[in-house]
């Protein structure tokens, strides 16, 4: 032992009250902060979604079109950057050190900084709404989350707030990605080779690579947007030789990999849950790892399939179409591995397993409708219609959000030491499944019938399907209150104590630790055989 160890935060002692959370360097505390923040922002984004569906309940205007545009934009930005990304980052922070037998994340203070950049970013996004109440500015960003020029060049100060929020969220993502990569490369327990790592760790490694590759160009892009807005440049203005389509390239070079940044961590958590509740080992470990690599590499070379209607040479359209379709191969490999994992297993259907199976079905629909949209010819019809809205909600709610909820129920007993209310959990699942499908199946038909997105009012022939969709949204939204209630009950200590292994079939280092795990774990690393 070394004298320097006296400086260490060795034992379970930690500051109490607010300072524990503000100053913490502990990966479990930071993980919990991320997850808590994400749940709050999920509710904020959810309330905005309810407002959208209330406006669309009947063909009439409740809000001004400007306010409606602000609501859909902030809904998108909040859900992507402040709800889903922090949730997967929180899971990474909490789980990766325990899964690989590390004492903590490699860079604990930067870890804390990475989290505490997010609440200010969320405040920046929402603040223009509040300023508008005091008569300052004309409200939040109203361009859609894609911030297309020239609309975003002309918008009010809400756009500037969003640009600076992107800076803060980008810094946060880069810090957490660097930290996760270094932790995985440098902090594994002796004997845990790369190909012995739990599959969730692999999925996050690829996610972190993607973030480091694609977030900086977006930062460059929003800087150019800021310059066009305030410093007289012509990056996105043809009068000075610029091009609004340049913004689309910069945005989607980030925006498409972003979909996989949201998705990959949950595809990594799936095999854990499926194998636990099937009581069978994960099928096709190597195939899944190689699929993550393939998805990661392909995802950065397909961005322009979002721009088929923006004007592009036919050769480029063909390339982006085929490259996009090629992604379905590694994704299908993941699906086959999941099916093979549960095949002939002795399955039980606890809440995490229900959400995991729901993930397979709903994300399957999202992926298959994505194939339809990737067809450059068909996309001329579907582009900017409600078909697209339904598709990406199947891909992003049916994928990441379902996966995150599954992971939440799966690890909740491990994190808190208490079992949640299983009956409520099952209600939550079925109400979510019914509400979700009722919301978004009608939107496929609305899109095919020609209803455009981002418009607050619509023609009378769309009325019935829209009302159905809004009723579904209310069912879906209220279902999430069951999750919140269940979480609060568990945090209050209601429910029976969880065992060390929690689930009968659970495997992995994190299930060798007590529930809840002590404040510091694996200060002496385990040796993996």
């Amino acid at each position: 032992m070394n004298a320097a160890h006296a400086h260490d935060a060795h034992h379970d002692e930690h500051p109490s009250g607010m300072t524990r959370w503000l100053f913490t360097t502990n990966h479990k505390d930071i993980g919990r902060l991320y997850i808590g923040f994400s749940i709050i922002m999920f509710l904020v984004g959810g309330i905005l979604a309810m407002l959208i569906r209330t406006e669309l309940l009947k063909p009439q205007l409740l809000f001004s079109p400007e306010l409606y545009n602000q609501i859909i934009t902030v809904h998108g930005l909040v859900m992507v950057f402040a709800a889903v990304m922090p949730a997967t980052t929180g899971l990474a922070n909490y789980l990766i050190p325990m899964m690989i037998g590390a004492p903590d994340m490699a860079l604990p203070r930067l870890n804390n900084w990475g989290f505490w950049l997010l609440p200010p970013a969320a405040v920046l996004l929402v603040m223009p709404f509040i300023l508008m109440l005091f008569g300052i500015g004309n409200g939040a960003i109203d361009t859609g989350w894609t911030m297309y020029a020239p609309l975003s060049v002309q918008g009010g100060l809400g756009v500037d707030f969003a640009i600076f929020a992107v800076y803060l969220m980008g810094a946060s993502s880069l810090l957490s990605s660097i930290n996760i990569i270094v932790t995985i490369f440098n902090m594994r327990a002796p004997g845990m080779t790369m190909m012995k790592m739990p599959i969730f760790v692999w999925s996050w490694l690829i996610t972190a690579f993607l973030l480091i590759a694609v977030f900086p160009p977006l930062v460059a892009g929003v800087t150019m947007l800021l310059a066009d807005r305030h410093f007289g440049t012509h990056f996105f203005n043809a009068a000075g030789g610029g091009d609004p389509v340049l913004w689309e390239h910069l945005f989607w070079f980030f925006g498409h990999p972003e979909v996989y940044i949201l998705l990959l961590p949950t595809t990594g958590i799936m095999p854990h849950i499926l194998s636990t509740f099937s009581r069978k080992p994960v099928y096709g470990y190597k195939a899944q790892v190689y699929s993550f690599w393939a998805i990661g590499v392909l995802s950065v070379v397909v961005w322009a399939h979002h721009m088929f209607t923006s004007g592009m040479p036919v050769a480029a359209q063909l390339y982006f179409m085929y490259a996009t379709m090629a992604i379905s191969i590694p994704v299908a490999i993941l699906f086959f591995c999941w099916f093979a994992t549960i095949w002939q297993g002795s399955m039980t259907f606890e809440t995490p397993m229900l959400f995991a199976l729901g993930y397979i079905v709903l994300f399957g629909v999202g992926g298959l409708t994505g194939l339809i949209l990737s067809d450059a010819v068909a996309d001329q019809q579907y582009h900017n219609s409600y078909f697209l809205v339904a598709h990406f909600h199947y891909a992003l709610f049916g994928g990441p959000v379902m996966g995150i909820i599954a992971a939440t129920y799966y690890y909740l007993p491990k994190i808190t030491g208490r079992m949640y209310n299983e009956t409520l959990g099952k209600w939550h699942f079925w109400q979510t499944l019914i509400g979700f499908n009722l919301t978004f199946i009608p939107q496929f038909f609305l899109g095919i019938a020609g209803m455009p997105r981002r418009i607050p009012d619509y023609a009378l022939q769309f009325a019935h399907l829209n009302m159905l969709s809004s009723v579904g949204a209310y069912i879906l939204g209220s279902a999430q209150l069951l999750l919140v209630y269940n979480l609060i009950q568990v945090m209050r200590g209601v429910g029976k104590k969880a065992t060390t292994q929690v689930w009968e079939g659970a495997q992995g280092l994190e299930f060798t630790l007590p529930s809840p795990p002590p404040y510091h774990t694996f200060e002496t690393q385990p040796v993996i055989q």
Binding site: M1, N2, A4, D8, A9, T19, L22, F23, T25, D104, A106, L107, R109, L110, N112, W113, W116, L117, P120, V123, I136, L157, D160, F164, Y167, L174, I178, V182, F185, N186, M187, I212, A213, V214, P216, P217, L218, V219, A220, M224, L226, A227, R229, G232, T233, H234, F235, N237, A238, A239, G240, G241, G242, D243, V245, L246, H249, L250, T524, V527
Partner: protein
């Protein structure tokens, strides 16, 4: 696997620290101040000033804390490897950033200006516009470009020499020759400052004599975007080099353990390489 199954000993996990959350607060104030300022709202400068002061205060204390830990012998080979990897991945993210900026340059030069000029005369609002590079766009004012063989060539020589001097300082540190290290670093800082001085002069000339400004079409905007961000990185590099210089004078670092020195020199070499690409693609071609 004898090597892989050896325990790596104890990893240093720092105590709870107030600095990260304070730094976030400072950045929030700066961001909000910037938004208010560019929209000409009153509170802007105050928020910027307060945030800026807090930012510098926190950096000073946080880095002081880390330097104290480093000199106190808290870090060993295992922690050192984390720091190195962290710096490598940070520089990779910087490379992604500059790759994005160069991508913008290529897109404008080879795609957007060319296709703007090749539109059918029936459909284009700019019938007389022909593709050329540098371009001010159809409605931009004419300007002259900076000749690569004046200040840019001198600046290339300056930065390349500074890469040599920083390496010389590193050799000195590894050989335990403190005088060489300090001389090498001082020269590097001086060269960095010279570079920045020349660059500032070049920007001034561009604005006053050449008519090359941020507002003079895509070329001007991209020119200042690329050289400006590079100049910002040189500035940060000079600040970091100065800190390392002061630490060397104070007797910090050991011949076999000097992560901060190496991190700064990696960063400096990265800035150097970006300049070479700038010289070729922005000034020369």
């Amino acid at each position: 696997m004898p090597a892989a199954t050896q325990s790596k000993g104890h990893y240093y996990v720092p105590k709870p620290s107030p600095y990260p959350v304070m730094l976030s607060g400072a950045i929030f104030l700066v961001a909000m101040g910037a938004v208010l300022e560019i929209n000409a709202l009153k509170a802007g400068p105050w928020s910027l000033l307060l945030g800026g002061v807090l930012f510098v205060y926190v950096l000073f204390h946080w880095f002081g804390n880390v330097v104290g830990e480093s000199e106190g012998g808290v870090y060993h080979a295992w922690e050192d490897r984390s720091f190195r990897m962290g710096m490598v991945w940070f520089i990779l993210s910087e490379i992604a950033f500059f790759a994005g900026l160069f991508g913008v340059l290529f897109y404008e030069r080879n795609i957007s200006v060319v296709s703007l000029a090749s539109l059918s005369r029936t459909f284009t609002p700019y019938p007389g516009f022909t593709a050329a590079w540098p371009s001010a766009g159809p409605l931009g004012k004419p300007f002259s470009t900076v000749s690569p063989w004046g200040i840019p060539a001198i600046n290339t020589l300056i930065l390349l020499s500074s890469g040599v001097t920083v390496t010389w300082a590193h050799w000195g540190l590894k050989a335990g020759k403190r005088g060489t290290t300090i001389a090498g670093l001082a020269l590097t800082v001086a060269l960095g400052l010279m570079f920045l001085g020349f660059q500032a002069h070049e920007f001034y000339e561009a604005y006053t004599k050449l008519g090359l400004t941020l507002a003079s079409g895509v070329y001007g905007a991209t020119f200042f975007l690329l050289t400006g961000f590079h100049g910002l990185h040189v500035t940060i590099g000079v600040i970091m080099l100065s800190v390392i210089l002061v630490r060397c004078i104070k007797g910090h670092f050991k011949p076999d353990q000097h992560f901060a020195f190496e991190a700064v020199s990696w960063y400096w070499h990265f800035v150097d390489v970006v300049w070479l690409l700038l010289f070729v693609f922005v000034y020369y071609l």
